[in-house]
């Protein structure tokens, strides 16, 4: 379990991260969202022990980043927003070096390397030089490096930046698989629709402060108390509009071409009444669907784009 408690980082008079707190369980894939300069990377760097927090702390499986950084380092895999690869070595040599650095016993290293290469679909590139790999493959190699010591927490800073759609899709599948393996994965990214696809938890940060934290739908719902539905009717007309306007929870009904757009704020029981009223009124209900508010809408609504 990862507990981040009131993390704060100051650079001189500037507060880059201000009291960020959250908690993640094994298997959680956490999308860390924020504009450039919002404090995502600084937070990730503090959790990875690269930066010492000014105050607050992060605790991973009982180990405190401030008191026991070595134990934290053994339990994390950190992938920064750049590759940091040694170009003049082969793929297996690169992984072997990091496996040794993470104290993987020499007799186990070959097996570990084979496993992570298989997981990241790089087995065929085992003997290729790192510099000969495509950008997507290099990104997967970085992820493989993060996995050689089987860490409990993966910190992935902008892992999809610069990747083509196919490579992004492959990376997404890989991250989902890692979540299934019980690892805590923290992913910072700007590509919000993708994060919404595979993250079960997201946090939105701006000017160093966490503005929202929770499940994607939970955040969307909390940000959007008024929900909108579109009803497609066989016989659209004023009757349908007046019928709906009489229902409790319905705030506004408007006709858009052959459909009705209904703005609603209420319970699920009240929501069920909408469909019932349209069926009972004989308007020929063909479909009723909720308009989705996506993470990007919520992000834009919550944030102003300002930085410290």
């Amino acid at each position: 379990m990862l507990e981040v408690k009131k993390l704060r980082k100051e650079y001189g008079g500037l507060t880059a991260v201000n009291g960020v707190s959250f908690e993640l369980q094994p298997g959680d894939i956490f999308g860390f969202i924020g504009s450039n300069g919002a404090g995502k990377t600084t937070t990730i760097r503090m959790i990875s022990t690269l930066l010492e927090p000014t105050s607050g702390t992060a605790i991973l499986n009982g180990h405190d980043v401030r008191k026991d950084p070595m134990a934290i380092r053994r339990s994390i895999g950190y992938m920064p927003d750049f590759f940091g690869l040694y170009d003049d070595v082969k793929v297996w040599e690169y992984l072997d070096f990091f496996a040794a650095l993470y104290e993987v016993p020499a007799r186990e290293r070959n097996g570990v390397i084979d496993n992570v290469l298989e997981l990241t679909d790089l087995t065929v590139k085992r003997d290729a030089f790192v510099q000969s790999l495509s950008r997507g493959m290099q990104q997967r190699l970085c992820l493989a490096r993060c996995l050689v010591h089987d860490p409990a927490l993966l910190l992935l800073d902008e892992p999809a930046s610069g990747l083509d759609p196919r490579a992004r899709s492959e990376l997404k599948e890989l991250i989902v698989e890692l979540g299934r393996m019980g690892k805590i994965v923290i992913v910072s990214s700007h590509i919000l629709p993708e994060l919404a696809d595979f993250c079960n938890t997201v946090g939105i940060i701006e000017r160093g402060e966490m503005l929202a934290f929770g499940g994607v739908s939970e955040i969307v719902r909390s940000m959007q108390p008024v929900r909108a539905f579109t009803a497609t009717l066989l016989r659209n007309g004023a009757g349908a509009i007046s019928t709906l306007q009489r229902l409790s929870g319905v705030l506004k009904v408007e006709s858009i071409e052959s459909d009705l757009r209904i703005e609603f704020e209420g319970s699920v029981e009240q929501q069920a009444e909408i469909a019932k009223a349209l069926v009972d009124g004989g308007f020929g209900l063909l479909g009723l669907r909720e308009e989705e508010t996506n993470l990007e809408d919520v992000f834009l609504k919550l944030t102003t784009g300002a930085v410290n």
């Binding site: 600084t42 690269l50 070595m70 040794a100 650095l101 030089f129 930085v307």
Partner: protein, 276 residues
């Protein structure tokens, strides 16, 4: 003391640097520039052995140790100039910092890696040294041994100096330039000035030239014999000074690793650059 030895040497995972050095210079996957360098060293080495065999008495063990020291003074910085600066340049430095190793272990690992190559080189150079002793009428083995120790300890000093410089800059080429530049100043320019400034006072010269091992290494070949005959100051005591300086530079290298490090590098210049 034993605890430091265990942490920094015996159980240091950064000892993997030894095999990295091997791969970088001697494996089939070594970069072309490194292969050329190894080829040059091998050619020089074979040439030296041939010289000893062909010219016999004309090639003294002293001369070979001088060549060895010169080679090590050049190749030490070439091997180590990127020890820290290179990691910074290719941005792999952070990956080392988040690994379960201390900065001391990183520095020690880099140094141990270079020392392994240096040791291999020193052993290889023993062949022409031993060969040349067969052609000499009188060989002072103790004296030769002391010179080997002076040569190797000085090379260790050069290596630690290179790591120290490398830990203070971001560009490896800058580290190489500074290291070779300071070598040139301290081994070339300073002794030249010292000869003219110190006049005939041998004590002044001894102290001024103390850090220049070529003085004591030439003893026996005649050139500086007049000022090198104070054996109380040279030889083993000199090696001890080199070793102490080696340790000091390594300690300071570790202490200054934060220079140009992330805390500083990512410190925003303007407030709007803050954060990530």
């Amino acid at each position: 003391m034993m605890q430091h030895y265990r942490r920094l040497v015996k159980e240091n995972p950064m000892k993997i640097e030894i095999s990295r050095f091997q791969r970088r210079y001697f494996s089939a996957s070594a970069p072309m520039a490194n292969r050329v360098m190894v080829l040059l060293v091998l050619t020089t080495y074979i040439g030296l052995c041939m010289l000893v065999l062909v010219f016999g008495e004309a090639v003294t063990p002293n001369g070979i140790i001088l060549i060895q020291t010169t080679l090590f003074c050049a190749f030490g910085p070439m091997m180590l100039h990127g020890a820290v600066a290179g990691e910074r340049e290719r941005r792999s430095w952070e990956l080392l910092l988040v690994a379960p190793v201390t900065k001391g272990q990183i520095v020690a690992g880099k140094f141990i890696g270079a020392m392994a190559l240096l040791a291999a080189g020193a052993v290889a150079m023993l062949v022409p040294v031993v060969l040349s002793t067969f052609y000499q009428k009188q060989v002072d083995v103790t004296n030769l041994l002391i010179k080997e120790i002076v040569s190797i300890s000085f090379c260790m000093l050069i290596c630690s100096w290179t790591i120290f410089i490398s830990s203070r800059v971001i560009r490896p080429l800058m580290a190489l330039g500074v290291t070779l530049g300071t070598e040139f100043v301290f081994l070339g320019v300073v002794p030249s000035f010292a000869w003219s400034l110190a006049g005939s006072d041998p004590i002044s010269r001894i102290f001024i030239l103390y850090l220049n091992p070529f003085d004591v290494l030439q003893k026996g070949s005649g050139a500086l014999e007049a000022f090198s005959n104070n054996s109380d100051f040279y030889g083993i005591p000199q090696s001890c000074v080199y070793l102490i300086l080696t340790i000091l530079f390594l300690i300071y290298a570790e202490k200054t690793l934060h220079f140009a490090d992330n805390d500083v590098k990512f410190l925003p210049k303007r407030s709007e650059d803050a954060g990530s």
